[in-house]
């Protein structure tokens, strides 16, 4: 199942995403509180769940577009006109890759 619990995951998304609840990582526990981990104005870290697997990555904004990437998964990058669009496209990309 491709699901879309995503960045700055709050309790709502955590409830939706049993993987996050069952196996939180150190970074996930920070995200689960709803505290978005913002590294700069142009980049934020995020978490997403695809096919029951949890992935962590970053979203960068450049030139008006957003690019979401999971660094440790080759080819897992996607862009969009909005952060949400980029994340949605990345979920589809991960679904193709795994």
């Amino acid at each position: 199942m491709l699901s879309s619990g995503i960045s700055s995951i709050n309790s709502m998304a955590a409830k939706f995403n049993p993987v996050l609840v069952a196996a939180p990582s150190p970074s996930a526990s920070a995200l689960a509180t709803g505290s978005k981990v913002v590294q700069s104005e142009q980049e934020s870290s995020y978490s997403t769940s695809v096919a029951g697997q949890q992935y962590w990555g970053s979203v960068e904004r450049a030139g008006g577009d957003y690019t979401a990437t999971v660094p440790n998964l080759a080819g897992a990058t996607a862009s969009g006109s909005s952060q949400q669009s980029a994340e949605d496209n990345l979920n589809a990309r991960i679904d193709e890759l795994v």
């Binding site: 199942m1 491709l2 699901s3 879309s4 619990g5 995503i6 960045s7 700055s8 995951i9 709050n10 709502m12 998304a13 409830k15 939706f16 995403n17 709803g34 505290s35 978005k36 008006g64 577009d65 996607a78 862009s79 969009g80 006109s81 909005s82 949400q84 669009s85 994340e87 949605d88 496209n89 979920n91 589809a92 679904d95």
Partner: protein, 299 residues
């Protein structure tokens, strides 16, 4: 007399038919005022929140939204489908249309990428067959081939023919299934020549221009200056889109603004779009990106 009675009986049956309820108030922007749209991403998470569907319905009512673009995955699970059907039922009861939001960066390419998008459309059709009283009213496409590196660059519209083909392919599936088709577009597409713009605007009946990044919260401009920018640019893009094209089988255009650009000023700017363009026959209405930006923690 008998004919009148029969007509009355048929009408009564139609009123009670679920499909008719689902289509009630369909297609705003043509007969019942301008479109006021709203994107909803990550719909499973949004709907999994306590009373998430009701909260979305209430937000639409308070913000004058009359159609919603709900992200939809071909891999939607049965519980997620049930939640979606519940949401659509609530929206229809509130006279708000629901479009299935399908996104892609490569559906302009024929073959497996486009087929993947078409499979999503077929999945929406299956959803509608399974939920005839709470069916989607349309397909909302967010296909963004301009995001791929080979399609970057001013004036680079090499992807346009494939994009138009994808729109037509979706339309060929959707319209017989009584689904409208609306496609998000970028202003880059309006900078093409007349033939390119005709190709785009004749491929789909409705487009939504993502008029983003005209402003930012810290640009130092006054509210009036921002509103003037919205007015000037919306008129410019509408003129640019239809310049030299004969009226007829061309898409109508909604114009979208997004929360990060205007924050709390967004409703004022959307209102400005209607005020500035209501008399333009090509203007469909406005769309707001996105509901997720109004949720706690930006989700």
């Amino acid at each position: 007399m008998l004919r009148v009675l029969l007509l009355g009986a048929v009408c009564s049956l139609l009123v009670c038919t679920p499909d008719v309820r689902a289509a009630a108030g369909a297609d705003p922007g043509t007969s019942s005022g301008p479109v006021h749209g709203l994107w909803v991403w990550k719909s499973p998470a949004v709907l999994n929140a306590p009373r998430g569907a009701e909260a979305l319905r209430d937000f639409c009512r308070s913000e004058g939204i009359n159609e919603v673009y709900v992200s939809y995955s071909a891999n939607t699970s049965p519980p997620e489908e049930t939640a979606l059907a519940h949401l659509i039922g609530l929206l229809h009861d509130a006279k708000i249309r629901a479009e299935a939001l399908l996104s892609s960066t490569d559906a302009d390419e024929p073959g497996k990428h486009r087929e993947k998008l078409l499979d999503k459309v077929r999945q929406v059709e299956r959803f509608n067959q399974a939920h005839p009283s709470d069916r989607f009213d349309g397909i909302h496409l967010d296909v963004e081939p301009q995001q791929r590196p080979e399609n970057k660059g001013a004036g680079n519209l090499q992807f346009l023919p494939g994009l138009a083909d994808a729109f037509r392919a979706v339309r060929a599936l959707a319209e017989p299934a009584r689904l409208t088709v609306n496609a998000d577009i970028q202003n880059k597409l309006l900078k093409g020549d007349r033939d390119q713009r005709r190709m785009l605007l004749s491929a789909v009946p409705r487009v939504t221009l993502m008029m983003y990044e005209l402003a930012s919260p810290d640009d130092g401009k006054s509210v009036d200056q921002k509103a003037e920018d919205v007015e000037r640019n919306s008129k410019k893009y509408l003129d640019m889109a239809y310049d030299g094209l004969q009226a007829g089988n061309l898409a109508k255009m909604a114009i979208a603004l997004r929360t990060p650009d205007y924050q709390a000023l967004l409703p004022q700017m959307l209102k400005k779009l209607d005020e500035s363009n209501a008399a333009n026959p090509h203007y469909l209405g406005w769309a707001r990106h996105s509901y997720n930006d109004s949720l706690p923690a930006g989700r």
